[in-house]
């Protein structure tokens, strides 16, 4: 899928300062070696299974299926992973790789805090130093995760520049990396940034679709008709799509954060409102003005509150292999509440965007159809914010 210099069609590339070029080249060389190294893969599989709790369950949501009255719905339970989200898959891979490369320090950006918590966890496990950059706005929205990272021994740096959200945390982590490369690996959390990150992160997350395929064949003896996942940068979505890309009958649907609506300025739906640009090391689609100034995007979900999207998604969009649909705050909050009440599963507000679209899609499909929704994370972290959204002030 990737060609030279990490292009996905016209997207991707390595638009980064010269200072970082040798670092990404070194990373690519190390990755190309270790991805085929038996010992590396054995160690990673052991971490996935014994530490993170993989394989994650593929759960038949019978009550939801009956209630919606259409397609049969399965939930891929990434929320059950250690640390509560799919982020751990990528982090364990990158931390192990960094360790093999002789790095002793991890830096990371985080939006909702899930990637930051996962990185802090891997750093604790592997005895590495860890610094997480998080938008100041997000440190307020996700105070619990800030505490978790500190508890795990990481430093959390609140980023005050720009909109003080995920994009600014990425910028600050990149700045930090240019100042300290020798002992530091930038553990990027999504399928974005300069090559080889979109490929590395995709590969580590592709365990999700590998398992879905196997589990679906075991349970139903066939592939699903549609796979749904939320998309910010797009790591859980690409992980959920990857092994189905060649199976053209499987519909791939990415659910973007529309915030208050794609007809407002308070949105983060990149595919639906953005245009082609170059930012954060990659060519892809971005929310921006006509002069290329990056837009201050908005979503209730800190994890989807990002003005760009990973280059492989941009490519899947261009060739029509995947479709990307907008889901508003209100729809996501309703889905958050719906899944809690219907199945007893509280999804992350990010994942609730995918649940929301499934609630619209499933009733339009016949009962012999099957859809899989990736529940990328659990929603404990969101309870206070959703309560506030509903006008209730609770204290954690």
């Amino acid at each position: 899928m990737t060609n030279k210099n990490g292009r996905f069609g016209i997207h991707g590339g390595q638009y980064i300062p010269e200072t970082l070029m040798n670092a990404v080249i070194e990373l690519e060389e190390a990755y190309n070696f270790y991805k085929n190294d038996k010992q590396f893969n054995d160690e990673l599989t052991a971490l996935f299974n014994d530490y993170a709790g993989r394989p994650s369950r593929l759960y038949y949501a019978e009550k939801m299926t009956n209630d919606l009255g259409g397609a049969k719905i399965y939930l891929k339970r990434e929320d059950l992973n250690h640390t509560g989200a799919h982020k751990i898959n990528n982090v364990l891979g990158q931390a192990l790789l960094a360790k093999k490369m002789g790095k002793t320090r991890l830096i990371a950006e985080t939006g909702a805090g899930q990637h930051g918590v996962a990185t802090a966890t891997a750093a604790a496990l592997m005895g590495m130093e860890c610094v997480v950059f998080m938008g100041e706005e997000d440190t307020k929205r996700q105070a619990l995760n800030v505490y978790r990272m500190r508890l795990l021994g990481s430093d959390v740096v609140p980023v005050k520049t720009g909109t003080a959200t995920l994009k600014d945390a990425v910028s600050e982590a990149m700045r930090e990396w240019t100042s300290r490369i020798e002992d530091t690996h930038y553990c990027l959390g999504s399928v974005m940034g300069p090559h080889p990150f979109p490929t590395i992160v995709r590969d580590f997350q592709s365990v999700i679709s590998k398992e879905i395929k196997q589990q679906m064949l075991e349970k139903e003896g066939r592939l699903p008709d549609a796979v749904l996942a939320c998309v910010g940068g797009g790591s859980n979505a690409i992980g959920s799509f990857y092994h189905f890309i060649e199976d053209k009958d499987v519909q791939l649907i990415g659910c973007e954060a529309a915030g208050r609506g794609i007809d407002t300025f308070e949105t983060a739906a990149t595919m639906n409102t953005g245009s082609l640009g170059i930012f954060h090391g990659m060519k892809s689609y971005f929310c921006q003005d006509k002069y290329g100034q990056i837009a201050p995007v908005y979503s209730i979900s800190a994890g989807l509150d990002y003005p760009g999207v990973g280059p492989e998604h941009a490519y899947l969009h261009d060739i029509g292999r995947a479709q990307y649909v907008p889901v508003t705050d209100e729809e996501a909050v309703c889905a958050f509440e719906y899944l809690a009440k219907t199945e007893g599963i509280i999804p992350a507000i990010e994942s609730a965007h995918a649940v929301a679209y499934a609630m619209k899609l499933a009733p339009t499909m016949s009962k012999d159809k099957i859809i899989v929704i990736t529940v990328s994370g659990r929603g404990d972290k969101d309870c206070a914010a959703i309560a506030r959204y509903r006008g209730e002030d609770i204290h954690e």
Binding site: I16, P17, E18, S179, F279, G281, Y291
Partner: protein, 256 residues
């Protein structure tokens, strides 16, 4: 022959960086004139970007001030057209790839040529990606300036061989901003540069004092100063042209 060469014809070159529109374009015009009148050999004009990932806090602040003042690429083009009537020294734009890309490379770079911009510095466009804009730059005779960093190592000769205009040598790891000490072995980097190209090279990042400028220009062909000038503009605002002029004079005198 690149017009940028003229900047290196008066002894060691002093190259100030100024963010366009900080705090407004009238002030920028006066600051540019003051710098040119006081011995600047080449001026780097920054087109502000919302998310300048290669900049430290000082230049980030200038970008925010300029953008919140309503400056745009089109307004900056008009401003350059205007000051070109009085300022004859070489001038280049420093901005980010997305500013050029979203405007349309052809339209952006042809306009540069038309208004008298001699080169383009894009810190997020490394050697591997320069074909994004290089063919258009060559078509219009606008130099695409390459950067070399302390980490470039085995890449220096490759970059230097294809360099145009001048080579921008980044003095230190990290982002722009003043530093008390520059530890990189710049002499070794310049030596490799010299073995591979005849175009001049200037050192930037972290330089603020006349002593540092002297030391850097002893190694290379010039010194680039950004954050120290932005700090003066931040401090004096509309009254800053006089102070920038005095500062530029002190720096040029030190390296002359």
């Amino acid at each position: 022959m690149s017009n940028i060469n003229k900047a290196f014809a008066n002894g060691k070159a002093f190259i100030p960086f100024i963010t366009c529109g900080d705090p407004d374009l009238q002030t920028t015009a006066e600051v540019v004139k003051a710098a040119a009148d006081n011995g600047a050999d080449l001026i780097e004009l920054g087109i502000p970007f919302s998310d300048p990932t290669a900049e430290g806090p000082v230049i980030q602040g200038a970008n925010i001030r300029a953008l919140s003042g309503g400056v745009t690429t089109d307004k900056i083009f008009d401003f350059v057209r205007d000051i070109r009537k009085e300022v004859t020294i070489p001038m280049v734009f420093m901005t980010y790839a997305n500013v050029v890309f979203s405007y349309g490379a052809e339209k952006f770079i042809s306009t540069c040529k038309e208004i008298g911009i001699d080169g383009l510095i894009l810190p997020d466009l490394p050697y591997e990606e320069k074909d994004e804009f290089l063919p258009v730059c060559q078509k219009y005779g606008v130099d695409l300036v390459s950067l070399i960093a302390p980490t470039s190592a085995n890449r220096i000769s490759m970059i230097a061989k294809e360099a145009e205009g001048f080579l921008y040598i980044v003095s230190s790891l990290g982002v722009t901003g003043t530093r008390s000490e520059i530890k990189t072995d710049l002499a070794s980097i310049v030596k490799i540069v010299r073995e591979n190209t005849n175009i001049p090279c200037a050192i930037g990042f972290g330089i603020s004092t006349p002593e540092q400028a002297k030391k850097m220009s002893d190694i290379a062909d010039g010194a680039i100063v950004g954050s120290a000038i932005i700090k003066i503009i931040e401090k004096y605002g509309k009254n800053s042209p006089k102070y920038v002029g005095e500062y530029v004079k002190s720096m040029k005198d030190a390296i002359r």
